[in-house]
Point group: none
Chain length 462, copies 2
Amino acid sequence: MDVTASVAAVETYLTEHADRFVDELIDLLSIPSVSAQPAHAGDVQRAAEWVCDQFSSAGLAGEIIPTDGYPIVYAEWTGAEGAPTALVYGHYDVQPPDPLDQWVTPPFEPTVRDGRLYARGATDDKGQMFTHVKAVEAWLKTAGRLPVNVKFVIEGEEEVGSNNLDRFLEDNRERCRCDVAVISDTSQYGPDTPAITYGLRGIMACEVTLKGPKQDLHSGVFGGSVANPANALARLIAALHDDEGRVRIPGFYDDVVPLTDEERRNFANLPFDEASYRESLGVNEVFGEHGFTTLERRWARPTCDVNGMISGYTGEGPKTIVPAQATAKITCRLVPDQDPKALTGSLRSFLKERLLPGLTIDFVDQHGAPAVVCDLHSPYMQAARQAIQAGFGTPPVMIREGGSIPVAGSFKEILGVDTLLLGWGQNSDNLHSPNESFRLVDFHHGLAASAHLWAALAEQQA
Amino acid sequence: MDVTASVAAVETYLTEHADRFVDELIDLLSIPSVSAQPAHAGDVQRAAEWVCDQFSSAGLAGEIIPTDGYPIVYAEWTGAEGAPTALVYGHYDVQPPDPLDQWVTPPFEPTVRDGRLYARGATDDKGQMFTHVKAVEAWLKTAGRLPVNVKFVIEGEEEVGSNNLDRFLEDNRERCRCDVAVISDTSQYGPDTPAITYGLRGIMACEVTLKGPKQDLHSGVFGGSVANPANALARLIAALHDDEGRVRIPGFYDDVVPLTDEERRNFANLPFDEASYRESLGVNEVFGEHGFTTLERRWARPTCDVNGMISGYTGEGPKTIVPAQATAKITCRLVPDQDPKALTGSLRSFLKERLLPGLTIDFVDQHGAPAVVCDLHSPYMQAARQAIQAGFGTPPVMIREGGSIPVAGSFKEILGVDTLLLGWGQNSDNLHSPNESFRLVDFHHGLAASAHLWAALAEQQA
């Protein structure tokens, strides 16, 4: 196979069919596949069928596989014997469009304005996912084959927790066997700065309740004679950090893989305007673990944040009680190689050891997932860099993100592979908000990058 | 006037009308006069009218006097020329009933079970206050007069800080002129141990809100880069105490009058079973400032308690946010000679100095009142001892209490008189808690003691 000649033909195909691809995407975006809303169950199903039909038209064997929730659309082309196999993950379900009255044009009547396609799901994830379907079509319709094997797992429950995905992967390990996973469901670093997200933070979550007296007590009659659960909870939470913003849970940093000099340099070289950042959040100063920059703190350092806290009387005016109990929700964002299970145990012990007399503690372990960081210099990463350079006309920056994408962890754990997070979107795309959109230029660049990716992955093998 | 014969007739009247008095109290308790909740404004007003009508039926000139908040019900009988004048203070407003789901019977559907009348306000203060109204009625309906002059000031804002009472007393010094004040809004020492409370703690109250980002932030994307208002609030609250349970607000203990050796001995001699105390509160250990007994901590040592605290997401399950803000309600109980105003200023500075970068603080000073300790040997104190001996059949013990009755300070300061704190309640009455109640036997003994008080005060003059 003459890959260079094939790529040229593929690019021509992408150009000639560019308008049709947008029209097809508009068709898909017109289906209100809101997985969170049972009233849209039929629409979610319809979107699965639509995606499956696209695979058939493109020349792949597509299949709708039922789960306990919405189905997974599976498709594959595995004719490149001996070549690597990429597994593309995406999702055809979308966030609820509310609040409806804030949309300039209706969420399920896709509209192009100023080079952007506006619709719920435009960037998250229908538009981004669709680039890979069409890039594969372009290869199959021109070269009649792909330079690598490609498998697709497109689910319909990403916006409601992907509850049936791990089970599917476990039950279909053989079918899903691959060398690398590819997900386009994140953002570029900025409008002219495509990015590869090579790291995500993990998470551990718990809920802590301190119980004191069996009911709220008059703070005058009893105050001073028993430990106050609200004061005591504050004491525990305060103990979680030292004065330099470091987390004091024993062993918390033991397994942390430090940022490499290369990473710190890379982060420092990214355009980042702290004044705009502060303004966008509405704070007059940033704050975090001493010795790290804002990007380092967000992307590559672990945290321990209270997400919610409640105790006693919270209505209007004063109420002079010693509350019977106090509760806090706490999450830690984790980095490699922190172990959510072990650290949840450490946190539990840390809190229990500091309990004031007369109190009991309920500790509910809610969920955990390890952080994921992929090798910056793996052949797959090199292929992705090349593909983006070719598709976008500019090389990607290498970034990490502070959030978690649990499916990347599932691919690592269940399938044993790294994930290439190749985001074609923008931070300004309003995902999860009214007036979600996808820049058509990013759609077309993404298409081209995806088409190049299959060639680049094949090359890396050699 | 033959006081002895009159007292006998009064006692007969109290016995004959006992059931009606309970029915009337049930009427009053059915009015949800929650002064802290604006939704109950109409009910608070209605309670004032109800009390005023009672004075008229009893034979006193009653009047509803508007204030900038809820009105004060004033009534008087001043036909005992040359005799002392007692001013009875009480309040017709009640604490919020929350948490509602912990009440066995609804808070505003008064119910008698096992000799106790259950309702919000049963003991605090509708039931106790009502004994004096009915005792006066008994004198006027039998003897046609009282042996002393009696004035009543019944307010509707005690549970929200009595913000308009001082102004009322200042504007009505002449009308309120008296020799001694009488308040029944405290507790007996125990079921068979009536008490006179000669000391009360003062109070200062505030609400603190820390504000960070302009809205809740995704804890993955932004966590670690800005100060978390919930963690930061916990840090401030934790800083309020040292490891020995002492309050760390600068100057907090400077003006504290230490307990005398005599008082410590007296407290130590009172029957107090710490095991029963722990059991009644549902805690397995007591806790407080090191170096003091439980009674000393409750009655004669200052405290700093969080009464309520809220931040971020408090619904079911996890929600991964950095909250935009966090709020705590804080009260300190004070002892002589701590100054609530000065210490509120110290608290405000203490918190502001410890603010993490990027946060702002709203500090709302809610109310304050100094502690009060009265002369154990005044003639009025002697009269009260006699009246309680007669009404309860046993002499009172002399105690202090941990709660605050700011008006006792106002009476001293504005009217120049001491206050007799004659509590008919029990510590087991659950005041400020779910299932508040008042023992009917205490209600009836209180009625009798009040009836005797007027006679005893007249005697003391001689």
